[in-house]
């Protein structure tokens, strides 16, 4: 029961086609909400000036590239991932979508190798499934997709704790009116806010 997306090695997201392999999480339709929300914030606040966006855990690059694709040519993207294989896929996707000159992919453990700067938006869809819950996931997920992109530790919230406790703090990397936009799991709302 290998996922269709892996069989054909492609998945459509935000009306764009992305290459996927077993080293990348398959883009989920509901993650389009993150793109939508981010674009709304940009339109409301930044009025399409030149924006710099960072994507932590970029995977296929679908979130970052969908955003950059929707924005003007002055907007730049920085995609971070700890998996070199995932970055290869993301780079290929950027080339396919003609966005390679506006995005940079960086092999890094969170912000370790991210150029020090003040960015407008930082987004992330980090792993948020509790370790024990992974067994009860559908076979098409647990047997095929990269566990690293799913496993959020005992309570699923490890990634959010890491982000909240980065050194230097994540806020150093954001402009004063900048945004951190995160996808979170079901029922994690209150806890993530606390963190």
């Amino acid at each position: 029961s290998e996922p269709i997306a892996y069989i054909i090695a492609k998945k459509e997201f935000w009306s764009l086609t992305f290459n996927v392999t077993k080293h990348t999480l398959i883009p989920r339709p509901c993650s389009e909400t993150l793109v939508e929300v981010t674009l709304n914030e940009i339109n409301n606040q930044f009025h399409q000036k030149s924006i710099k966006i960072v994507d932590l855990g970029t995977g296929t690059g679908c979130l970052l590239l969908s955003l950059i694709h929707s924005l003007n040519n002055n907007c730049l993207g920085f995609g971070i991932d700890q998996s070199k294989k995932a970055l290869e896929i993301a780079t290929q996707n950027a080339i396919n979508l003609n966005l390679i000159d506006r995005v940079k992919f960086i092999h890094s453990n969170w912000i370790e190798n991210l150029p020090i700067d003040q960015y407008d938006i930082i987004i992330s869809n980090p792993p948020y499934i509790a370790t024990n819950d992974i067994q009860s996931l559908d076979d098409t997920i647990k047997n095929f997709e990269p566990i690293l992109a799913l496993d959020g530790g005992i309570d699923g919230l490890d990634a959010y704790r890491i982000i909240a406790n980065l050194n230097p703090p994540i806020t150093n990397y954001l402009k004063e009116n900048g945004f951190l936009i995160l996808e979170i799991g079901y029922n994690q709302h209150k806890q993530v806010i606390k963190i």
């Binding site: 269709i4 997201f13 935000w14 509901c30 948020y128």
Partner: protein
Amino acid sequence: LIEIGLAQEKRKEYVKQLQLIQEVSQHFQILLEILEKEKEVRELFETIPKVEEKELYDLASQELEEIKIKLLKQEKDVLVSLLTKDSLDSRSAFIEFRPGTGGSEAQLFALDMFNMIKAYAELKNWKFEVIEISYSEVGGIRDATVMLQGEGVFGKLKFESGVHRVQRVPETESQGRVHTSTMTLAVLAEADEVDIDLNEKDLRIDVYRSSGAGGQSVNKTESAVRITHLPSGLVVAIQDERSQHKNKARALQILKAKVFNLEREKLAQERQNARTQQIGSGARSERIRTYNFPQNRITDHRIGLTVYNLQGILAGELDELIDPLIEHSQELELGKIINE
């Protein structure tokens, strides 16, 4: 600023009118030339002694006949160019296929019609995009929506809207009896922002949301979208492998076309009461054609046309039916103009 806008609109109108006038005058010019030629040949013809120069006489006689035919055609061209063109004719269109009465046979017939339109699109070099299709167990279709893109699509396919009826021996029929079933085809001209502006407040957009833990814990494609146009009650639902973003965009396009089509139908109904000439009633439920397999014939009930090329037409030679319909429609239009 508004005045500049109005002036630009007026200018566009003038340019359009000018083009129309140029077209008509071009046709008319050709007509005059043919009349000139006819006069020449006729004068020559009348000087040829019939018996002594039989060969020459016959030649001139034949040429005169040919000119007469050209003249008739050119007169018609001039008249047709005077007709107000249906501005929607040049547009792309959405086509919906739905089986009617007849169970699985109807579903199979709906698939035949689907393939017929697909083959026709190929011949015409139009882009045939399947927006949604759901197959039935027997291999027919439960419903399908496609988009045909190309110049003049709607003008050719607008007469396909209605109920198509098939008479044949179904594959499942063991005793060789002929069954009748139906399917409905709906052709909607693509609408743009100028035609229809859907107010966001009038729309209810339902997007698939997992009940319970979704997101990373689910990777089956659930990108279904359903949009309801509250004022009219029209609904478009798409569930398909594409992204939710794409499905929403497509659903909006189709909804626009449906709302636009509905308003046009209403207008046509109102006008119908004043004028009686039109091909068929245009009603969604009108039975427009019968496809009889044992007799290899297709009959279009609106113009009483029967052709014996069922296989060819199913394979895409639809012009055999469409051209007479267009011609008939033009004649009705001309009739209207002449009577006024």
